[in-house]
Amino acid sequence: MAVVRRDILRDDAARAAYIHGVRLLKHEPSSLTTGSFGIPGPSRPVYTYDLFVIWHVLAMNTAVPPGGDAGVRNAAHRGPVFLPWHRVLLRWLEAHLQRVLDDPAFGLPYWNWAADGSPAGPGGVANPAASPLWRNTPDGFGGQGAPVRGGAFAFRAADPTSFRVRIAANSSGALRQVTERGLVRRFGQSAPFGSPRLPRTADVASCFDPKADPSVTDYDRDPFDVSSHGLRNRLEGFVGPGLHNQVHLWVGGDMAPASSPNDPVFFVHHCNVDRIWEGWMRRNGRRYAPDMTAPDSLLGHRIDDPLVSPFAPADKPDTPRGVLDSTAVNSYDVLP
């Protein structure tokens, strides 16, 4: 039976379970150490939550096709697989949360950031930093800080059970160990360092409005990169109002580098991105591009190409086609 993913600000139980589950994964040994992943420095245990940081960094450093330039397109970003690959990442985190929570009905909650980014009424001014998400209480994510000192993911140097960042990416995108430190967030920095605002409801609506942009009825278009027109690139944020990228920039701090899954808000942010994609597919069908007639230069992004995913048996690897319809596994309480 499919689990239901709910609004993290409208479902206190889902938010509490997510926070509890993340903290459990953050302290669960994965069985391997940093040396197993080629991370320089002394050998230290790698915990389950931090595997998702490593996975994100490795995928976005993986050029597809092999031998290509990961800065042009990679296995996680800047091309058509952006949405399918992150859907797989979310599914794996959700499964591990279900396991440690001993709750197979747990659904990963989503953060409807456009609601926080929109004024409450006509003529009003949005104040996303005041969202209840950032409450400095045990049921909140804490606000900004360097380190974050409130909420469920606060850093307390003397408390080894408090939230810590252990593995991060450097300026080259390479994995590195950090002396255990707290999470960093810097809300609303001005350009070029960040974004002063979150996307608004109207920005999300632009993904569904062919009158504003006729290309949004297509999933993606040639040249299938950061200059493309279509839903994928508008939602990823390299064209249009910014959307996914803008949320990373607005939160700032640990949400900026390749190791952005270090911030637990990463997953509820991407769950909302996935929800918007699902809303687009409800309107436009479970369509994807490019298909397998695309040239080898798009290998890794075509509909039946394997994703960088552990589900990689030769007979049925995870592919974009294979994850287009995940309604048997999860669904959303509300689609945009």
Binding site: S30, T48, W55, L58, A95, Q144, A146, G173, D254, F311
Partner: protein, 144 residues
Amino acid sequence: MAPDTSDAAQPAFLATYLAGLPRPEHGHPGPARSVREADVDGHRIVIATSYEITVDGRPLDVHIGLSNDGSAHCHGLPAYQLPSLVDLVRVLVHTFPDEFPPPTTGHDDEAGPDTDHDTHDHAHHDHTAHDHTAHDHSEPDGGR
């Protein structure tokens, strides 16, 4: 007991898979090089650009990429695509302060993305002044 690497529900399964992935190469010695390609009227355009970027006199060992519209990006900042390469380097310096220690005083603390070095939270910083200088010796696209 050995961890179960065959049960997908166990962390050892994901860990073992990730440990087996190819290791990306991150060393980019020498000037940053970007190659842009395009076609027009049956002709092939290739624009190769080299940058020598230093911060406080030290070479910046970061893979900089340029898109065909002239905007700049790098692996370290996946959600950024900036019209100015100078701005991209400014963001790198700001985001990874431990990689860019102050030129006049050394420090060896291990900070994270723009981690404060004192015990106070600063909600806002003055981004108009920086101690670091990025030298872009080969600006394409009208200096962007």
